[in-house]
């Protein structure tokens, strides 16, 4: 099958990649660009392990063709940490034991990263609803929710301090 050239800006870096029209974005990210953070758990959009951020929205990269992302700005888990170190969400997931096997974690944190931009001060109920597209088999979510709420509090405090 013929390949076409598409342009993706991933974690701030521009890439031109050749992909078949049917190639799923998650495979382009994982296999062509060697970004192994997004995982494949279901291939039907249910589990969210493949979640990435595309043009400011959380997207499940296992059910999107790479060609559909032509020209897009993409952030994966690999792009969430800052030059100064881990993102506060990553810190809080560790601090509050928000992960066990780690397979859902990249998608979960990437989703939470967007959620806290959509709603910087969510209630517990809003967090639970906001991550309902991401499944975790290990944690029962309680500590994930705790970690996201703690990250929100810390980010808000940092914002206030900066103002």
């Amino acid at each position: 099958m013929g390949k076409q050239i598409i342009t993706l800006t991933v974690n701030g870096e521009k890439h031109e990649v050749a992909a078949e029209p049917r190639e799923l974005l998650v495979h382009t990210l994982r296999e062509t660009l060697n970004l192994r953070g997004p995982h494949v758990g279901c291939e039907t959009s249910h589990c969210g392990a493949c979640t990435v951020d595309i043009d400011g929205k959380s997207v499940k990269s296992c059910t999107m063709f790479a060609a559909q992302a032509d020209g897009a700005e993409i952030t994966t888990i690999e792009g969430i940490a800052t030059p100064d170190g881990m993102h506060v969400l990553q810190e809080m997931f560790r601090e509050h034991h928000g992960l066990q096997c780690g397979y859902c974690t990249p998608g979960m944190i990437t989703r939470a990263y967007r959620l806290l931009q959509e709603n910087p001060n969510p209630t517990e109920e809003e967090v639970r609803f906001g991550i309902a597209g991401n499944l975790c088999r290990c944690t029962g979510y309680q500590n994930i929710v705790k970690a996201i709420l703690a990250a929100a509090a810390e980010m808000n405090a940092a914002r206030e301090a900066a103002q």
Partner: protein, 804 residues
């Protein structure tokens, strides 16, 4: 005072037992730097994919691979005929049966592996799967195990005339075994003469562990040096190496098995699956690395289901509620091949822990294993070999008996608990419970939820419901479970002949840090964090200075792997014992350095101190350096130890769970208002990790009890092959849990620890299910089968006439 503070600081610095140490694994995982099997990418790697049967029972008339082979990028298509010369078209199962690797003349369940396509990329492989032409002749299907035992239809033609199976006599061509434990005659006599007998069929439905990462493997046969490297989702990598050697004829030293990071196991990754075998064969045939990764549908349809036990129970008691006997007969649906993951001598696992937490003087269990046209498996989904089925059975029977006696179910439990002074306790079915204090745990749990107030509220609710003031019912789900985890002992527990010990090897480095390798493999349990804590407390080096490594058979000592909550009871014990060997040698070195006799020294947190002269000491760090930098008479250089630990007994964790559930009688919807979980897992290594395990296990229990199932239609079509149909709770459906604990150490474990990861599933399922049943008890409900999804709960209400 200063000394005490100093000592406490030294203890804290170790981050040893009892410390909620943050996990060392998390820096990688939170930054997307895990290394799972699908992340393994080798030069020239090919991709394998299966042609699977659309039928549950059919003869395979022909397979035409020509069109598939003609597709650009296809390298090979393997069928049973290609595997037969290698004797790999069938493989042994863990349960003493054998299983087709690729369909040999017929298929026995929907989704069965028929042919293995190998291509240059995963897309081409998927295309080629569609081009393999298979001609089937449909055969009549058996999906009901009771019908299968009566039917003339022969499922397993390969063994139809064999009267003896791996576990004794077979009485029908679809019968696998009858396994019995206990005193049948004495139990029947007690039941015949009992004042009260409650009888019920309790079904624990078929479900699936469904870890978020599906199963997969990468095989790389290096023809030049004759070495096979196999990466895969293996909960028991060393056993996989031994099995791979026995099956392939490659000498074991030429096989290296690596379990990289594993994205959850829950029992799903214990077995050996056709995909693993085919990836190995394909790599040998093609001379290139071959990756096989199943998709979610393949995982749910074909890779190791769990449960599917029809448990017919009879429990007898005196009029005032003292239990006198228990009888249980199980019809166990094993699917097309008996591929249960149990220790060899236990075809029904440890199901005979089904007397639970109760002092029952006489009991009998009989389990009939049956073949049907369903996927093989029978793995322990977050439980220790059928313990979840056992706990569900006894906790339902207790509730049914409470109804029969018109008694409060909490009180019925209390008067029948094994008492603290009865431990070690010999159960009627042959187990020796190591330790427990059930009454203390139970009273603490009932007090925590204000049990009497809940019952009063429930009684009022029933009145209000009857008066038409509300449509919501209140259920109080009680459970007191006893687990049995930590297989060995070797004398009666093995997997394919390998005794179920486990191991730890420690090397102390000259500058006072260490690496320890174990025969287990973490799948999210956090071994790299917690095993370092065990060791820190034993050898006095900070957990932060200890690397834990597992999963590479070329470097780790042989072990039986991680499942059945055996890591802490067995490998954790090996870790402590190896640590003690280190300390014993360290004591000799310290004595030399301090110029005293060994016996003049005592261990204090992180150092050996001269008795009566606390200012004279050598820390473990000092000793480590000395072990490498000077000649000590009579002592070999270096500081290393290895321990292979054969546990003298299993450990018996227990717990008290209470679920308070609101149920809408009109819609069948439920809301979990409160869930209280008290666990006793003996000595607690890392409370944070324990709590996380409990949350996760409870959520898997919630899924199983309230909606999750592998269901088939009459044609043997699997109706639950995607996450649309197979229920996994999201954060929205999952309630908030309250965790609590008591601490009753195991008397035989070196640090008193028991397992915990599976307790919440074992205890959680009956707690959720009992809450549903309890909500309808006042209206006459005795038993209704799981999963309690909205439709089934609505149907309970409807059948009881609650819809007017």
């Amino acid at each position: 005072m200063k000394d005490l503070e100093d000592r406490q600081e030294r203890i804290d610095n170790l981050k040893g037992l009892g410390c909620s140490r943050k996990r060392v694994e998390d820096a990688r995982f939170t930054q997307g730097k895990g290394n799972y099997v699908d992340d393994v990418n080798l030069p020239g790697m090919l991709h394998g994919d299966f042609v699977r049967s659309p039928y549950a029972h059919a003869r395979v008339k022909s397979i035409n691979i020509d069109a598939a082979m003609a597709l650009d990028g296809v390298v090979a298509v393997l069928t049973a005929k290609d595997l037969e010369p290698l004797s790999l078209h069938w493989m042994p199962t863990l349960a003493g049966d054998k299983q087709m690797v690729l369909a040999d003349g017929k298929v026995l369940f929907q989704g069965q592996e028929v042919a293995f396509v190998v291509a240059k990329d995963r897309y081409v492989a998927a295309d080629a799967v569609e081009l393999v032409e298979v001609e089937y002749e449909e055969l009549p299907v058996l999906v009901d195990p009771f019908e299968a035992l009566q039917s003339d239809i022969v499922l397993r033609e390969d063994i139809k005339d064999e009267k003896e199976g791996a576990h004794g006599a077979r009485r029908h061509h679809n019968h696998i075994f009858l396994w019995e434990e206990g005193d049948k005659d004495a139990t029947e006599q007690v039941l015949d003469e009992a004042e009260v007998v409650a009888e019920e069929m309790v079904y624990y439905h078929r479900t699936h562990p469904c870890p978020l990462e599906p199963c997969g493997s990468v095989a790389s046969m290096d023809k030049i040096n004759g070495k096979l490297t196999l990466w895969g989702t293996f909960q028991a990598p060393h056993v996989v190496r031994t099995v791979a050697s026995l099956l392939s004829g490659i000498e074991e030293h030429n096989i290296r098995v690596i379990s990289p990071d594993i994205g959850g196991g829950f029992g799903n990754k214990v077995g050996v699956y056709p995909g693993y075998v085919c990836s190995i064969v394909a790599s040998i045939v093609t001379g290139q690395p071959v990756k096989w990764i199943e998709d979610r549908m393949e995982n749910l349809m074909a890779t190791a289901f769990a449960r599917d036990y029809w448990m017919k129970g009879k429990i007898s008691a005196t009029k005032d509620g003292k239990i006198t006997g228990l009888h249980c007969h199980v019809t166990a649906d094993h699917g097309a091949f008996d591929a249960c993951a149990d220790p060899t001598k236990f075809p029904a696992g440890f199901f005979h822990i089904c007397t639970g937490s109760y002092d029952i003087p006489v009991a009998y269990v009989g389990v009939d294993g049956v073949y049907t046209n369903k996927a093989p498996g029978g793995v322990a989904y977050r439980c220790s070999f059928r313990v979840t089925e056992a706990a569900y059975f006894i906790e339902r029977m207790i509730e049914v008996l409470a109804i029969e006696l018109n008694m409060d179910a909490a009180e019925l439990r209390r008067i029948n608990f094994i008492k603290a002074d009865q431990f070690p306790y010999q159960s009627a079915l042959g187990w020796e419970y190591d330790s427990g204090d059930y009454h203390t745990a139970w009273d603490k749990a009932l007090a925590a939820v204000k049990y009497d107030d809940l019952r009063a509220e429930q009684a009022q609710r029933v009145e209000d419901f009857k008066a038409g003031k509300t449509r919501k019912l209140l259920g109080i789900g009680l459970t007191h479970f006893t687990e049995i985890v930590g297989a060995g002992p070797v004398k009666n527990c093995d997997i394919l002949g390998m005794g179920m010990f486990d191991s730890c090897e420690i090397r102390i480095h000259p500058t006072g840090s260490a690496i320890a390798r174990l025969g287990t493999i973490s799948q999210g349990q956090g071994h790299a964090t917690t095993f370092a804590q065990i060791l820190a407390s034993e050898i006095g080096l900070s957990a932060d200075s200890i690397t834990i490594e597992e999963g590479d058979t070329d470097t780790a000592p042989y072990g039986l792997g991680t499942y059945g909550s055996r890591s802490t009871p067995v490998a954790g014990a090996a870790t402590a014992m190896a640590g003690r060997k280190i300390r014993a040698k360290a004591q000799m070195i310290a004595a030399y350095l301090l110029e005293v006799h060994d016996n003049d020294l005592e261990w204090d947190v992180d150092r050996f101190v001269v008795k009566g002269a606390p200012e004279r000491f050598k820390t473990m760090k000092d000793i480590a350096y000395a072990a490498y930098n000077q000649a000590i008479p009579g002592v070999e250089p270096g500081l290393e130890a290895v321990s292979y630990y054969d546990p003298p007994n299993m450990t018996y964790p227990f717990g008290a769970y209470i679920c308070v559930m609101e149920i809408d009688a009109d819609t069948g919807e439920h809301e979990i208002r409160q869930f209280y979980a008290l666990d006793d897992c003996g000595t607690r290594i890392n409370p944070m990790v324990i709590e996380g395990q409990v949350h996760g296990g409870l959520t898997e229990a919630l899924a199983i009890a309230m909606g999750q199932e592998i269901a088939y239609d009459d044609m043997g079509n699997c109706k639950t092959g995607t996450l649309m149909d197979f229920f996994i709770p999201t954060a929205v459906e999952t309630p908030h849990y309250t965790t609590d604990h008591t601490e009753t150490p195991s008397p035989h474990h070196p640090i008193g620890a028991k397992g915990v990861g599976e307790s919440p599933n074992v205890g959680g399922v009956p707690a959720f299910s009992n809450a549903v049943h309890d909500a309808f008890r006042a209206f006459g409900l005795r038993q209704s089968h799981m999963p309690h999804d909205h439709w089934r709960i609505w149907k309970i209400a409807n059948d009881l006439g609650l819809h007017g």
